[in-house]
Amino acid sequence: MDERKIRVIVAKPGLDGHDRGAKVIARALRDAGMEVVYTGLRQTPEQIVETALQEDADAIGISILSGAHSFYFSKIIELLKDKGASDIIVFGGGVIPDKDIPGLLEVGAGAIFGPGTPTTTCVDWLEKAVAEKREKEK
């Protein structure tokens, strides 16, 4: 019963109200045995980062369909750095053009999962990424 569970924030930044994808991912992560803190819609980057700190999250998953992905990813990663918490993994999905993905990875996003990605791909990646992160902490 005693084990270190993976804790993930699933958040929707900004003014886009389409949360079906975020909910599907939240469910998939739950079914993989993770504890998913779902923040709901219209979150500011500050709220998302503060939530991750308060909840001792291993990772933040953000879902963006508004086109403002470059801003939100950079901002969230920058705020984490300011708080001395850049060990927290940031990943995401939504409607993000392929040509924008390298730029997001460049600023520090761990992975971007586009439409049609099987949820297992996302789960497997996150499990591995968290294991690596925890290995580094030792």
């Binding site: 019963m1 005693d2 045995g33 998913v36 923040t39 709220q47 700190l53 308060q54 001792d56």
Partner: protein, 316 residues
């Protein structure tokens, strides 16, 4: 470890969050942390919010935070949601209703999954409450999972328990039943704009009339959490109950109950951890097959394990 405790006591949120995880994961360092912080506890007002799923506990908590913040008090929240009995995962979503307070440095919200705990709280809720208390949070609100009739562990941790009811939950027999209806220090009839609320209020009051000789009669508050109606009066009642505990003998009685539960909780968790571990070493394929075939019986198997744990001899 001691550095982490020092930082948490000094107000560092991430260190506090880390310590809560460590405790909820059953880390062997838990005892050491708790021994360090325990002398600093006992100052916070600990409020329990319980009731059925969808009764409005999170929305009500959000409004309570607002009211206490206006009074200049800092507020720590532990919001418990159920873990899956199959995957062990959880969707922790009480926070959604309170998210507007994220960013206010006088508010700390922590979501916890029940992780197999059945009393309406999670493994580690008790310790997390003590940690928040030691770190100087003035008010601690514990929101239980949505409960049915018998998840009453919250009374062992909270000073003041608010049971949230909504119209349409059944007839007066439901209100007569033992369990959750008995643990309220304050009743909250939420969604008071819905039809039927007066009937529920009348039935609860009728039930309370039967226990007139008690020094504290739980007040019954009608609220509409969504727009904050009735929340001010509710907070007044909570504070009044806290004052009552400080003066009457009931306060001492609940303190005895609380410390007794603490020792029991520590013992049971430790024993169940040991039992689980030792059962794993006994749980061979042969034993399992023998049990399934009923050649062996679970009492004998458990008896052998107990003997190994405690050196117990069979009673003559």
């Amino acid at each position: 470890m001691d550095i982490l405790v020092g930082r948490a006591l000094g107000g560092d949120i991430r260190s506090l969050a880390r310590l809560i995880s460590l405790i909820e994961n059953g880390d062997p360092l838990t005892d050491r942390v708790m021994r360090q912080i325990y002398p600093k506890t006992g100052r916070a007002l600990v409020i329990g919010i319980t009731g059925s799923p969808g009764a409005g506990k999170s929305t009500l908590t959000d409004k309570l935070i607002e009211t206490f913040r206006r009074q200049g008090k800092t507020v720590g929240i532990i919001a418990v949601d159920p873990s899956s009995p199959f995957s062990g995962g959880a969707i922790l979503a009480d926070r959604i209703r309170m998210q507007r307070h994220t960013g206010d440095s006088g508010v700390y919200i922590r979501s916890m999954g029940t992780r197999g705990s059945l009393g309406g709280l999670s493994r580690g809720t008790r310790e997390a409450t003590l940690l928040l208390d030691a770190c100087g949070w003035d008010v601690i609100i514990i929101e239980t999972v949505g409960v049915g009739q018998s998840e009453v562990d919250i009374i062992k941790i909270a000073n003041t328990v608010c049971v949230v009811l909504v119209p349409g939950m059944g007839d007066d027999i439901q209100i007569m039943k033992a369990g959750i209806m008995e643990i309220a220090n304050v009743f909250v009839l939420n969604k008071a704009d819905k039809p039927g609320v007066d009937r529920v209020a009348a039935e609860v009051k009728l039930m309370l009339d039967l226990v007139r000789d008690r020094p504290w009669i739980p007040p019954v508050h009608k609220t509409i959490a969504e727009n904050g109606t009735g929340v001010g009066e509710l907070v007044d009642s909570i504070v009044r109950h806290h004052e009552f505990l400080k003066t009457g003998t009931d306060g001492l009685r609940s303190e005895y109950a609380r410390v007794s539960f603490e020792v029991e909780d520590i013992l049971l968790k430790d024993l169940s951890r040991r039992a689980e571990k030792i059962w794993k070493t006994h749980r061979t394929q042969d034993v399992m097959d023998a049990l399934v075939r009923r050649d062996e019986n679970p009492y004998t198997v458990a008896g052998a394990i107990l003997k190994e744990m405690f050196g117990l001899q069979k009673t003559k």
